[in-house]
């Protein structure tokens, strides 16, 4: 077990890769860890961290991990692929014709990545707080002395009804190797339930009221990124099923959503939902 302190990512004797991105020599605990580190490490100039530097540093790091297991490598590579897509997209001039499906798929990937990064960061900070709590708790010792002699004799026999076989069983249990892996479904996302709910919400709002912008549809949850992301996924799902049309007149402009399905489609839309499980 490594003795690395939680804060180890903040001591920076590490070599520079790219102008503003640092990577430390220690191995990273997973793709989100690495990406978070690359983006958030340089806390002074957050906005100077460019996607290009991140992608390069990320790929360099992946390359260094020669002997990691296949599952881990796959996760790292999936994210690398998304990053490369994003980088390519940014290199393209604005007026190049882009297939809307591909564009949406890329956005979906990016938003999923973003939501997973946020989730990862949330638990990282929760872990830091738990670390502090356990540090504080370690400053006290519980009393363990137990019963005084005169009372011990009174106590019922703790081994009453125990048999040698019980002991044997307890021993085997104590020796048991702890549970090992059986399945490796590493792509289950934590947002599937709320996407379904978000589709419900969209189905209640879209069929009436004509074209609405995504901004309007998410105004009530605008300060909760996670909630906005799942609504975005919901819109994409409805688009995939052909019951809404999307229109965005300029990049980063408002996304306008128009209901083009009929009443029956509402039920169909729900039953056809892919939860993001694989």
């Amino acid at each position: 077990m490594t003795s690395t302190a939680l804060s180890s990512t903040e001591d920076d004797d590490s070599p520079h890769i790219g102008p503003s991105v640092k990577v430390e020599a220690a191995g990273f605990e997973g793709p989100f860890d690495l990406l978070l580190h690359l983006i958030l490490n340089d806390k002074v100039d957050l906005y100077e961290v460019s996607l290009f530097d991140i992608v390069d540093a990320y790929l360099a790091e992946v390359k260094r991990m020669e002997h990691c297991d296949l599952d881990v490598a796959t996760e790292f590579l999936l994210i690398a692929a998304t990053l490369i897509d994003l980088k390519v997209r940014r290199l393209l001039p604005e007026d190049v014709d882009i297939d809307l499906d591909e564009e949406l798929a890329l956005w979906e990937e990016r938003d999923l990545l973003l939501s997973r990064l946020l989730e990862s960061k949330t638990f990282k900070d929760a872990a830091a707080s738990m670390e502090q709590m356990s540090h504080n708790a370690a400053r006290v010792r519980p009393r363990i002395a137990g019963l005084e002699e005169p009372f011990i004799g009174l106590a019922p026999d703790l081994l009453e009804n125990s048999t040698p076989e019980d002991l044997h069983k307890a021993f085997m249990k104590a020796m048991q190797p702890r549970p090992v892996a059986t399945v490796g479904l590493h792509h289950v996302t934590a947002v599937k339930a709320s996407v379904t709910e978000a589709i419900h919400e969209m189905l209640n709002r879209l069929p009436t009221g004509g074209a609405q912008t995504f901004r309007e549809l998410t105004a009530h949850v605008a300060d909760d990124t996670m909630e906005v992301v799942v609504r975005f996924l919901a819109v994409l799902e409805l688009f995939k099923q052909g019951v809404v049309e999307l229109d965005q007149t300029r990049h980063l402009g408002d996304l306008s959503i128009t209901w083009v399905g009929n009443a029956d489609d509402r039920e169909a839309a729900l039953s056809g939902v892919d939860t993001y499980e694989g």
Partner: protein, 208 residues
């Protein structure tokens, strides 16, 4: 009923004192935290009374500057050394309890603590890595345990945190962790992440 009790409480100081002494004695000879219910049963009173006496006792030790505390940890009351005295105690009682968890183990533990019951695959999905080794360490340490099976076709083992975990954190139960919402990244971090992952050409971003 609570009216009756109130009358008893106010008029029968002696009874209260006896309950208070009984709690001190019972907790003193216990080797594990003693739940309210257990104290109430042994003292023939109710849990609300027990709890309010324990709080009062705990305050009195603190006010008197005692070197010990009465604390509610891992589902019950226990005597423990005062945190101020950690230097004195650490030199005295040496054991393996101070083993620090790796960052990976700590984060996995956080996910389990907040999302329990949770399966191995779900933890892996959140962490983006295989968590078998870490999970083994955590269950060997007794911080997490199997607490059930998923009802789905795979019948995946579901994990949760243990009493020992609560003890290590000095909290009554896993529900007493600070709300996860406290740790949702602040706006500037979210913005930084969004900004960096923005797929638009740099010009377009600047023009926004």
């Amino acid at each position: 009923m609570s009216d009756d009790e109130l009358v008893v409480d106010l008029t029968d100081q002696d009874h209260l004192v006896q309950l208070s002494r009984g709690i001190e004695a019972l907790v003193m000879v216990a080797s594990d935290p003693v739940p309210d219910a257990e104290l109430a049963r042994s003292l023939d009173t109710d849990e609300v009374t027990v709890r309010s006496i324990c709080v009062a006792l705990s305050d009195s030790y603190e006010d008197q500057g005692r070197g010990f505390q009465l604390a509610y940890v891992a589902g019950g009351w226990r005597f423990q050394s005062h945190p101020d005295m950690s230097d004195v105690i650490t030199g005295h009682v040496l054991d393996g309890q101070h083993q620090k968890l790796s960052p990976a183990a700590m984060e996995t533990l956080a996910i389990i603590a907040y999302k329990q019951p949770i399966s191995r695959a779900q933890i892996s999905a959140i962490r983006g890595v295989n968590v078998d080794g870490v999970l083994r360490t955590l269950s060997q340490r007794g911080y997490v345990a199997e607490i059930g099976r998923d009802e789905g076709p795979g019948q995946a083992v579901l994990f949760g945190t243990t009493q020992l975990f609560c003890e290590k954190l000095g909290i009554p139960s896993a529900n007493d962790l600070p709300p996860l919402g406290d740790f949702v990244p602040p706006a500037h971090v979210v913005e930084a992440l969004e900004h960096t992952l923005m797929a638009e050409p740099a010009d377009a971003v600047a023009g926004d």
